[in-house]
């Protein structure tokens, strides 16, 4: 790969890092389509590669969040334990359903959560509260 291409990928990585730390997500939402569409990688390689990138990205994000005392480690540990177990269970269940059904179910569920979150967020902004509601 050319140096220019690597620099271009690193530039895309900056956006991944910003999104990851800002939203508490891995950044795969940007990386996977980027690798598939812009770099012509297979879906599997895009996913595997993005998962690897998430590790240092999230570590750096947590370091900076921790400095502001924003990380609740007990909750994080609980979610991580559940999450790693869920990854195995979820993979087993997912293999029994066809991909399209899964996407529609999850996409629909996520859309409901999304709309609710936006609604709550706008409500919080209107009320001008700084600490916000717990929903």
């Amino acid at each position: 790969m050319s140096v220019l291409l690597l620099l271009g990928i690193a530039a895309a990585g900056i956006l991944v890092g910003v999104t990851s730390a800002m939203f508490g997500v891995g950044g795969g939402i940007i990386m996977v389509p980027f690798m598939v569409l812009a770099l012509d990688k297979t879906q599997h390689i895009a996913e595997g590669t993005s998962l690897l990138v998430i590790i240092p990205t999230a570590i750096v994000g947590v370091i900076f969040h921790r400095r502001r005392n924003l990380v609740d480690f007990p909750h994080a540990a609980a979610m991580a334990a559940g999450g790693t177990f869920g990854a195995y269970a979820g993979a087993a269940a997912a293999l029994r359903l066809d991909g399209e059904t899964l996407q529609v179910i999850f996409g629909g569920f996520l859309a409901v959560i999304a709309l609710r979150t936006v609604r709550d967020g706008i409500r919080d902004m209107r009320s001008g509260s700084k600490s916000g509601s717990a929903t």
Binding site: G13, G24, V25, M35, A76, D124
Partner: protein, 90 residues
């Protein structure tokens, strides 16, 4: 994870984001290990992406810290909307 933490964990939006990020580390590590074992990782691309990402992360953390609770929640909701549309449209 973020909605779970705000809805059931009682965390503020900011803490939910930061906490979720911490939880993601071991989850991503385990999953990445599985993909690496199956030889489904492009290490050169990963290194280039990571190089940019570790510079972007502190910036993202600062932006998050400066955002109000409601604004952050709204932006997160919009991100979720983008993801759900991506899933439903493909």
């Amino acid at each position: 994870m973020v909605p779970l933490l705000t809805l059931f964990g009682g965390l503020t939006q900011h803490r939910a984001h930061a906490t979720s990020l911490a939880a993601i580390i071991p989850i991503a590590a385990v999953s990445a290990g599985a993909f690496a074992a199956a030889d489904q990782v492009d290490y050169a691309v990963a290194a280039a992406l990571a190089l940019g990402a570790i510079f972007g992360a502190p910036l993202g953390a600062r932006i998050m810290a400066g955002a109000g609770e409601g604004a952050l929640k709204t932006m997160f909701g919009l991100l979720l909307l983008v993801v759900s549309v991506q899933l439903l449209w493909s």
